[in-house]
Symmetry: C2
Subunit: 317 residues, 2 copies
Amino acid sequence: MPERVTIKSIARDLGVSHMTVSRALSGHPNVLKETRDAVRKRAAELGYVKSAAAMAMRGDGTGIVGLLLPNIINEFYARFANTLATACDGAGMQLIIHLTNDDPATEEAALDRLREVQASSVVMVPVPGRDGRPTAQVAGLRTVQLIRQRAFDDATGAILLDDGPALRAAIAHLVGRGHSRIAYIGADAALSSGRSRLSAFEKGMATAGLPADLVRTGAPSFDMGRACAQDLLTGEATALLCGGFEISNGALSACLEDGGRIDFVGYGDPSFYAWVDGGVTTVQVPVEALAHHAVQMIVEGRTTETATFAAELVLRR
Amino acid sequence: MPERVTIKSIARDLGVSHMTVSRALSGHPNVLKETRDAVRKRAAELGYVKSAAAMAMRGDGTGIVGLLLPNIINEFYARFANTLATACDGAGMQLIIHLTNDDPATEEAALDRLREVQASSVVMVPVPGRDGRPTAQVAGLRTVQLIRQRAFDDATGAILLDDGPALRAAIAHLVGRGHSRIAYIGADAALSSGRSRLSAFEKGMATAGLPADLVRTGAPSFDMGRACAQDLLTGEATALLCGGFEISNGALSACLEDGGRIDFVGYGDPSFYAWVDGGVTTVQVPVEALAHHAVQMIVEGRTTETATFAAELVLRR
DNA sequence: GTGAAAGCGCTAACAG
DNA sequence: CTGTTAGCGCTTTCAC
């Protein structure tokens, strides 16, 4: 295999010292213009790229951003990653993606790998059920928590959702359409987001003078949402509100197969919600805004702040 | 900030040489069990992780896999990335994702960045229109081309689709349903995949004794598919066949808004195709199989082979 | 304007 | 069983 092209190999090739090459390439003033041009020309010919490893070892930062997501198939996560990746490219950074599948051990391993490569920052959707665990693995990693927030993890930044108003608006919408038996499927209390959304649902129902008794919670996933919806469809519920991205897709699949007989309000807004069944009413989350804010926090080093974005009910059909 | 934990700092802390620490941590036999345990204990307490930069500089390989995709929102790409990321984690590698948006300059920049970090391998969906360009940027990068293949780039591996039979089956299916005015939207000739799919369409139509005159090609994108479909919907076409993932989604959105009056066969099989409009007939691609094969090629170093996977027509509704 | 030395973290190759 | 040296590619510091 052809020897790696380094400043030294270029220097040898040109009969100068490797320092001259270094200076020429980094635009240092103290280099004869002739020399500089010759060096640059040769470097381009040889396809020289500076070793990121060497730079990292010198402590110059890696420009690597880590992204930990449960998965990347759900369109919310995909859109977030898409925007983040594009913005990172624009800012001269690279994105390493790890999928946690909401599994604690996987998350821990991923964080370790990111520490190995000295990632400058990490954006992560924390997995459920690790509240209170000392964030040993996070030591030395500037992290931003996305959507969910771990308790007792206040040294890290967070980008959260204010979806209470939208969820309550969803209930008001369903009540306005004559429903009184409104069901809810959401994440369980292991997740900060699960707790707050459930509480919003309960408040909304109380305001409407309705009982919040048709509730299903658990670890949020497509299958969980689908199973709970199938279960609810056999009962007395006439409307269904979802409190999670994956749950919403799973529940919707069940409702569509059921023939759309139940009034459905989803969570998140994958593009096909606009086309399906004449349009699905849903709690829309400003994904791109979240992602852009994440990039800002990263490049400006403000990774200890907490930002909150409002979700919005989108009526369709 | 707290000093970085290195084998040297641990060595100082324990009053031994850094080599003893190195050996203890890497399980070298020649270390007193006592010493080894003490070192490992201290390293764990301190949260030591070995510097990937140092390893890379020694030439031990980075375990970094690059993935270049047009975007990651389209479910085909998302599923591919999801499977690849999971498999990489399992194989102790990390995935760096770059989105090219099908733009040549972006692709070139991404490849340079991956060379900087000395990525062990790169899986890429080549951007259109760079045939024949010397692959200077690819020098020293073991790459696998996905779905599309660049001409004159035969030193790299490839994972391709054999979708001709499925496309011809789609035509037979539509003909069987009484259609004679069948339209096609696909990528233009700047893409190997565009050329082969169009040719499959033409062959299929010829076999059926029908003219292949309702054809639209161009740079494949959601908007392109949507615009072409809207255009075709105003004409005499009674059925529409798509030859691209993004195109298919765009065209489908137009057809759904049109009320589903045209017979539609999509390309790729995002999960919602099963729910929409009673189920969308489509050319299904074995994404997971492609991704697993990519991982195999990478870990086994067989990055110059070409593999082909068959697409399959899935009838729905 | 150019060069030589040192050091970032790690391990292979030699001493002991 | 343990320690010392050298070198991976790069820039900063100090000569010349």
